[in-house]
């Protein structure tokens, strides 16, 4: 396999890991943000958590693996992005810690104040993480100041530009909708109806945000002038998919509504990664300073070894993760007797 082919392959593989992460953890984040608002009683909150209980940790590993794969395949990308977005990533990690620990600890004490505190930590952590990731991804697409030594020369506030914030807000609102659709699909009884009602309201916010993000993408990125692979109709397709979601929500086609927000997330990410390709970090200082899959990658030998390992194990992981979802496919009700605490 040629070096260029391997570099492109690893770009695609990392893109797949991110897409998988956003699709899966997207509804986890949504469920987490909705938890204190949708669940009134303790059993209801437990039921909401249990919809993602067996799987959220596995979903989060997609992010960890994306990080590890970036380190292994594109060390310069990993080094520049992680050190450059230092405070944003610090807050992301804090968000992930707060919510991870809260899922595990909230039911282990019967003090209502204890549970309320952890429920809010779940919500805050589930908000912080997609907000920061959305902001970071928008900044990747529009470019950030990087000098000739592959060093990020901005600071935390450089990231909080209008397009970055639009990205953050959009990711949060799409995940809220994705989470509400997931809950409608997984819950039973009154909670399911409440989730559906919420999903109708959240749809309006998400659709607006998505339209704004798509429109501003034509202003703030080089999507129109870019040489090389063109994202084509991907951004438009992703907007259209988002817009038709409401039909499924209204007609109570719960599976389709969830698939539809899922496909929207996937299309958005495909648009993002094709827009980036073959660049991995765009320099707003000078396009020549941009990091690409060619100047940021590991050696051919390392990429070959890692490819063999990935080709063997990624299908195995997909198989057993998919099997878990099949195992826990049953709807969850807030009925005390059937609830795993």
């Amino acid at each position: 396999m040629s070096y260029e082919f391997l570099q492109a392959l690893w770009f695609i593989l990392i893109a797949v890991l991110w897409i998988g992460f956003f699709f899966l953890e997207g509804f986890d984040f949504g469920v987490g943000m909705l938890l204190p608002f949708l669940g009134k009683k303790d059993t209801e909150r437990r039921a909401i958590i249990n919809t993602i209980g067996p799987v959220w940790d596995g979903n989060e590993v997609w992010l960890i693996t994306a990080g590890g794969a970036t380190f292994a395949a594109f060390p310069h990308w990993y080094a520049t992005m992680f050190s450059g977005f230092y405070l944003a990533l610090f807050l992301l990690v804090i968000g992930l810690i707060l919510r991870g620990i809260s899922f595990e600890y909230r039911s282990k004490d019967s003090n209502p104040a204890w549970r309320r505190r952890f429920d809010w930590m779940i919500a805050i952590g589930s908000f912080l993480s997609p907000f920061l990731l959305g902001t970071a991804f928008s900044n990747l697409a529009s470019g950030v100041p990087i000098n000739e030594n592959m060093m990020y020369t901005g600071n935390f506030f450089t990231l909080l530009n209008p397009y970055g914030l639009i990205g953050g807000i959009t990711m949060v609102s799409v995940f809220l909708l994705h989470g509400a659709n997931f809950l409608t699909l997984k819950l039973d009884g009154e909670l399911r109806d409440r989730a559906r009602e919420l999903s109708k309201k959240l749809y309006i916010v998400a659709a607006l945000a998505v339209i704004v993000l798509a429109a501003t993408t034509y202003i703030f990125t080089d999507i129109v002038t870019k040489i090389g692979i063109n994202p084509g109709i991907m951004p438009i397709a992703s907007v259209v998919v988002m817009l038709v979601t409401i039909i499924f929500i209204d007609r109570r086609m719960e599976g389709w509504a969830f698939i539809s927000t899922g496909v929207h997330i996937i299309l958005t990410q495909i648009a993002f990664f094709t827009l980036m390709f073959p660049r991995v970090m765009i320099s707003s200082t000078n396009p020549a300073y941009s990091l690409t899959i060619y100047n940021a990658s590991s050696s051919q030998y390392t990429l070959t070894v890692m490819s063999i390992i990935a080709l063997i194990f990624v299908p195995i992981v997909l198989a057993y993760q998919g099997w878990t979802y099949y195992m826990f496919r049953k709807r969850i009700s807030a009925d005390k007797k059937s609830l795993v605490y």
Binding site: D57, T65, Y86, F90, S107, M150, K337, V340
Partner: protein, 468 residues
């Protein structure tokens, strides 16, 4: 404080904190899996309760290990970007493999184990806890191979054009003796940590004559495993020491505060240095023991710090290559002393279980042994990582060249204080829960809803399921 020192403090503190929880996960998983297997084979309800009780403590500890692990994976890039650029071609691979092969397995099957009881076939439920134990230990292997490479780099060439180390022999990377010696030492230490937790908590209940059957069985099991594992820790450490003498002679000499080359070399029981920490003032020594530690031979020559410093200056250029000896010297002594105490204690516990011991008054004090492995584990890592200084990768890159150049003191103060606050609160919550559930014993209804409806006190198995 400059960004370099703050980054070092942050890495050191977050790593020590993370490793407070890891060894228990490594060891306790096997115990829970074994207990559940006993239940599966005998259908004896006591084994089920045992597996549940220790499994619940396992989960409380596991959660904090997982979330602090995210920081570990990210901070190579965040704080040590130049290190990441220099070694990413090699070091990134085991990290990615760890995530792909171990983390997915561990997290997915833990979810099945926690939520799957009664929903998945019993065999699958049993297999899932075994997979969790295997996967967590497997993840330790990959991260220790990565760390082993930093201590003893193998299978690489320096690419002068790119200015970085590149992998040329993956097989050498995954068979690095340093990594496997760490693995042996660490996994055995995991078993010891779990054994001493079980010994301590069981003693608490035995002393109070509660659930005697469950806790006496646990106590005996842990005493036996604790003895075998603590001896294995010692043997692994001793072998590791000899390999260290060959590959990292400076670290070896620094651990012993062995300043001048001598043959045969004496072992220091107590050395007092001057205020700079770089010169010996006074010491008590046992002749020839250090020679034995270095090469299993009472007569061999052991090179001293000063000679190695001279050699490194000619090899790598002038600078100070001596680690902070006061740390290496004392952390080694604290690790070893506690290690020997644990061997003696577990042998003693195993011996007394041959006769009735449940009424012994000293059982009251046994819960304190839980602290011992934590002292040894932490000392061990301080020793091995501080002994590597000033190198970030032995012989290739020094720590000061690995730090992210764009970080400011303010960035680091924010993150360092942030981690301190969050980790501190997590630690308090975790300690509170561990203590509560350890004391509550296996019959406590572990979780319930708090909606204030009348409590149904139906079938015990309804109340027992362990929740997340």
């Amino acid at each position: 404080m400059d960004p370099l020192s703050l980054s070092r403090w942050q890495f050191g503190l977050t790593t020590i904190y993370h490793f407070l929880f890891v060894p228990l996960t490594l060891g306790l998983g096997w115990f829970v899996a074994y207990m559940q297997t006993l239940y599966y084979q005998t259908k004896d309800e006591d084994y089920r309760k045992m597996a549940k009780f220790w499994g619940n403590l396992f989960l409380i500890n596991f959660a904090i290990g997982v979330v602090t692990g995210i920081v570990q994976e990210f901070q190579f890039g965040m704080n040590w970007s130049e290190y990441s650029r220099y070694v990413g071609d090699i070091f990134g691979a085991p990290l990615a493999i760890e995530a792909l092969l171990a983390f997915f397995l561990e997290s997915t099957f833990l979810g099945i184990w926690v939520f799957g009881e009664g929903r998945v076939p019993e065999k699958v439920h049993l297999a899932s806890i075994w997979l969790v134990a295997i996967a967590s230990n497997f993840s330790a292997l990959w991260i220790l191979l990565a760390n082993g490479w930093m201590q003893h780099p193998v299978g690489y060439v320096i690419n002068e054009v790119n200015g970085r180390a590149e992998l040329v022999d993956f097989f050498a990377l995954i068979t690095n003796p340093k990594g496997w010696l760490f693995f042996w030492h660490t996994i055995a230490a995991g078993f010891v940590t779990a054994s001493f937790l079980i010994l301590g908590v069981s003693a608490y209940h035995i002393y109070r004559q509660q659930n005697l059957k469950i806790f006496k069985t646990s106590f005996q099991m842990a005493a036996l495993v604790g003895l075998i594992a603590s001896v294995l820790v010692f043997l692994g450490g001793h072998t590791n020491g000899q390999y260290m003498y060959e590959t990292q002679p400076m670290k070896f000499a620094a651990i012993e505060a062995h300043w001048e080359t001598s043959q045969p070399a004496s072992f220091s029981i107590l050395t007092i240095g001057d205020l700079s920490g770089k010169r010996e003032v006074w010491s008590i020594r046992v002749p020839r023991v250090l020679s034995f530690l270095a090469c299993n031979n009472l007569n061999c020559e052991v090179r001293g710090v000063n000679d190695i410093q001279k050699e490194y200056e000619t090899l790598y250029g002038p600078r100070d290559y001596i680690p902070l000896i006061v740390f290496t010297y004392w952390s080694f002594r604290s690790m070893m002393t506690v290690g020997f105490i644990m061997i003696a204690l577990s042998a003693f516990f195993l011996f007394i279980t041959r006769r009735p011991y449940e009424n012994a008054r000293w059982m009251k004090w046994v819960p304190w042994v839980i602290a011992l492995p934590y002292i040894a584990n932490t000392s061990g890592w301080i020793l091995t990582e501080m002994g590597r200084q000033p190198w970030i990768v032995q012989g290739l890159l020094t720590v000061d060249k690995g730090v992210s150049p764009n970080l400011t003191t303010v960035d680091l103060l924010i993150s360092l204080i942030g981690y301190a606050v969050v980790y501190g609160s997590l630690g308090v919550a975790m300690f509170y829960l561990m203590k509560k559930f350890a004391i509550a014993g296996p019959d406590a209804a572990l979780h319930e809803s708090i909606d204030g409806e009348s409590e149904e006190n139906g079938d015990m198995s309804e109340a027992l399921p362990v929740g997340r």
